[in-house]
Structure formats: C-alpha cells, structure tokens
Amino acid sequence: MAANTDRRRINAPSGGTSAPVFAKPVKEYGYLQSLRPNRTRGPDELRKTFLQTGVVPSASGSAYLEVPTTTTSSQPSLIPPTSSLKIAASIQGPKPLPRSAPFSPTLVLTTTVKFAPFATRYRRGYIRDSAERDLGVHLETALRGVIIGERWPKSGVEVVITILEGDEDTWWGDSKAEGGAGSGWGLLNVLAGCITVASAAIMDAGIDCVDMVAGGVAAITGDGQKVLDPCPAEHQDIVAACAVGYLASRDEITELWLKGEVGADPDTLIEGATHAAMGSVSVLREVLLENIETKTKAAKEGSKRKLEDVEMTG
C-alpha cells in the first residue's frame, strides 16, 4: 500500500505512537491481569448514550454521539480501562448534482466514514483505509433502505462521519493488542454508533425517511453467554458478534453485519442486537422531540423578530 501514503504532509511514524505498555510491570506476575476491566453492567444492560443534534450550524443536519467509558475511577497505570465512542455526523444536502454528473432518478447517497488520526490506539492516516471504506459501505446500506430516494431525482446528499474516539478491539494491556490488525470487534460498535448518529443527523436535516434506523450490537462470549452492547475491552473472549441497523416500527433490518463462529443458529444473536437497537431508538425519539421543540421555538422567535424589524424600519 505504498501508493496510499500521504506525501503532502509530514507524517507521524507509521508504527503509531502510544503510551508505553511495559511487557512486565515492575510488580509481580498477575498484576497486569488485576488491572483488567470487568463488565459491571448486566448482560442486557446498555451503556449510557449522549446524543445531540444541530451541532454544526453550516450543515443542513448534524449530530454528535458519545458513549462514555463505564469506569471512572482513577487508575494506577497508564493503560486506559475501557475505550469510549465519540462520533460526529454532518449532512450536506440534498443539493443538485453537478452538471457533469450523469442523470440519476433517485437521491445519490454518499457516505464517508473517517477515523480521526487520534481516534484509536494506532494512528490512522489522513487517507481512508480499507476498514473505513468498508464501514462507509455498511453505513450506506443501512441508510439507503430508509431514505425515500425517489423524491429527490437529480440530487445528492453527503453523509460525513468523523469518529473522534473509537472503541478498541481489545484491552490495551493484552499482548494481542500489539499487532495493530485486531479482531475487529470494536468496528461493530463503531458501525452501530455511526448508524444511530447518522439517523439523528438525517432527522435534523429533514430528509424523508420511512422510519428511524438505529444501531445495536450483541455478542456471544466464550462461555456461550449473550451480552448486549459489548465493550471489547471488558470481554476477553468474544466468539461472535453482530451489528444491526434496525427499523423499530416496521420490525425490519436494513443492515446486518454478523461475524465469528456463531454456529448454525444466529437468530438469538440477531435478536439480541435488535434489543440493543431498541435502546438507541428510545434515545433517538427523545432527541427527535427535543429537536422539534427547539426548531418550533426558533421559528416563533424568528417570526417575532421579523415583525419587530418591520416596526423598526417603519
């Protein structure tokens, strides 16, 4: 991938920079393991979510999602206990396609998912790598089924997602985490977050949709237990995981990404992921109400001000 490197900027070392994790801490054997975070939530308890719309004034719609870390206690080591998720989404459009573009009878949807260079333990470059492109395709699949594209012929909309902080694949203290190419369990969480935040941004932009799409993740751990919204740092032995984009009122799935040794019956895993998505749906509904309230209030104030203006000039 030598052709893919960015030559216009002075790049950081390709291996990434991170706080040192010592192979054998000065303390005795087993000390490192004692730092390992454990899941304190119940198996079907989700992490808290923060979601807000209208954060980018220049975009036609935007949203910001944050899933903070569960552990807040100060740690005696440099290894962060768990990772958190911070995603910003902005929407440009719908706007007319450039004259040079071929005719399209439907809305042309472009999704761009980009990790910020500092989003994960290993630095991401400025050019999108294959994992980011893959996430973009997944997100496009999730949104394409929801947006009623035939109402905007000859126009395009861009969904731009920036991941400011992404879920890690494993706990930093694990020796496996050194490889750089991880198991990819964190990506499923990132995708679910992207779906939810993109859905909120689309809602903010006022693009016609059949329903709100919400993301959710479920996983099966080594002992066969099903957990909702897994934080990969808290689970050492994830066997299979599944992310869905779920339409709650239609009971339909627009995006399904399942991977791992799930056996012959993935139904329970998919069902778990839809349950997790229901949690995001309730957050999305709250945000939708809030969004409408602020918009109507702003519209009222705006009209009042206009009247005043008229009085002033008159």
Partner: protein, 362 residues
Amino acid sequence: MAPPQPQQVNLSPAELSFLRSTLCQAPPVRFDHTKGPKDFRSMRAEYDVLPGANGSARVALEDGTEALVGVKAEVETSQWRPSPDARGSALAPDAEMRDAADDEDAKGKGQNSWIEMSVEIPGFRDDDSLPVFLASMLTESLLASGGLKDRLYINTRFHWKLYIDILLLSPPLSYPLALLSMTTHLALLTSRLPALKSEKDEDPLFDDDWDAAVFLYPKSKASASDDKPPVIVLAMGVGPNIIFDPCMEELAVADSVLAIACANATASSTRARIVSVRTIDPPSHLTPPGVPNSMNSATGGTVPASSAEALTQRELLANSGVWTPPRGGMKRGLISQVVKMVVEEGGVAEEVISALQAIELG
C-alpha cells in the same frame, strides 16, 4: 471520465414491474425459467491452473463472468513481541509441560495480518468501495474460524504469509461475491505448502519434493468432516420468496440481498456453520420509478398540480403494479428463514461445498 457505475441495469419501470411480479409468484418464475429458487447457475471450474502459485483455481459462469484466484505463500519472520502471559507462565512450575506440547502449540497463535487478500475488478480502482467490500467480506469469513491462520504458524520466529489474489477477468455483470468466493474456496482447497523438515525453533527448512507438500486444508480419509474453507452464498428476498444465486436482472428487483458465509459441518455439529452474514445494498434502490397513466398527460391522465399532490398520489400507488423502488429492510423472519435454508442438512451450503469438493476429486 465518469466513474464506472456498478451494476447499472437498463430496464424500464414496466420491465422491472413484470420481473418482480413473476418472481413473487408461488412458485417463483425466474429470469431463467428452467431454474427453481434454489438452483445455481451452471459453471465450469478448474484448479491448479497457475504453475507458479501454491494453489489456484478458475471458475467461469454461464453468463460469461470469470474469476481467477492464485494463492501464494511466503515465509516471513514474526515480529518478536514481549508477552507477559507467556513469560509469567514460564516461571510457573508447569513450564516443562508447556515445552512438551507439540501440535497444540500453534493453537491460537495465528494472526489476522498473516492473510492478505486483494480483489481486482476491471473498471474499478483498488480503493473503490466494491472491491474493498468484497475483500473484507472474503477475509472476514476466512478468519472467522481460527483454523487457517493457526496452520500458518511455523515457530516462534517464522510464519507463512498467505497472499490471496483474486482477479475478475470479465466485467462484473452480476454481483460477483458468490463467484469470487467459490473460486477462492477451490483455490484454497487445493493449495499446498512445502513440507517442513526442521523442528521447533530452528530456521525453517523445507522438503524440496513438491509431492511431499502438505495441503493447507489437511485431508483425512474420512473426508466428510475435514475443515474446509468457507463459501459465500448470495440470497435475495423478493416479496414472500427467497431466491438463491440471483442474476443481474433479478437483483434489479430485489427487496433485500443477504450474503451468507458458511463453513462445512464438522464432527461436532451435523449442520453447516454460519461464519459471517452481511446485507448488501440491492441495485433496485437506484431504479427509476414508473409514472402511472393517471398521472401522465400523454396517456389521458392529469399531471398533478403541485409537488405535494404528486407525492400523495405516488404513495397511493403502493400496490397498483406501477414500479416503485423498494423501501425498508428485511423482515427478521425472512432472515432466519434464509439462514435455515442455507445451513439445514442437505441445504444450500452443503450442496455447494460438496459440489466444489467433487470438482477436485473428479
């Protein structure tokens, strides 16, 4: 030059509507009417076509799409990583026993980065979304079971690096995922690595006799329960029906498309195992909607006065047979039905895997 449009279908709304209504019948009438919903397109396949590769295969479908896969392996030095777990347990009293372990040593030591896949599709750049999506789906299904990457482990200092290069020789007429996966399956099934002569942590020395080479996917006499590479099956939902291996015209009217990667049954389970599932955005979302006679002044209708009225009239057309691009996703019941049809005994997965096995034997 405009970027290539993937799978652009040039069908009119009337044609799309006709196709959809035939596919929704019970039983469905497919585009190729001689086929049932579970029938695959016929194909020609051969393996060991590239003398310079460790394993290779070529598959051509009847509609002219053709794929070539070469598998090459290289010995690479492993990066030494300080592992606190290993060192800690070496200090522990059972260190001797750990040294004595032999074959089980490789278990869980494989790394995902030891397999590199590239997909080359004519007309697409290697960073376009379609090749990237195909490569990640294929890689993900290969890595899902740790068996393959563990077999690439030689010793603590060396490992095999597997390069899987996939070439689509024809333009992507239909969605090429299933074809590429079947070709990759056949190439991996027949790829061999030179037999190792050195022991333990010595510098690896290999047998130069190619006849002594070992299969990447080892074969035993009772061949039914061997570990085999996964294979990806494409299924589409249209109305109440499920259709496997859809061709390009059928995909143009699909409600939803599912790619299911499944591995063969092992000794522990009698049914095939799912290793990965992904939804695929069907090209039907990009088809032009039809204009009904009632809204067309050329056919005696009246053109709606405002755009709001046009929208209302369009929404009332839902079941009138005028083509509108499908909306929404896939019902959960339909997904589990598809999965069941794939994994059940004598199901689609078993059929495809045994058919590919037969190519190698025959």
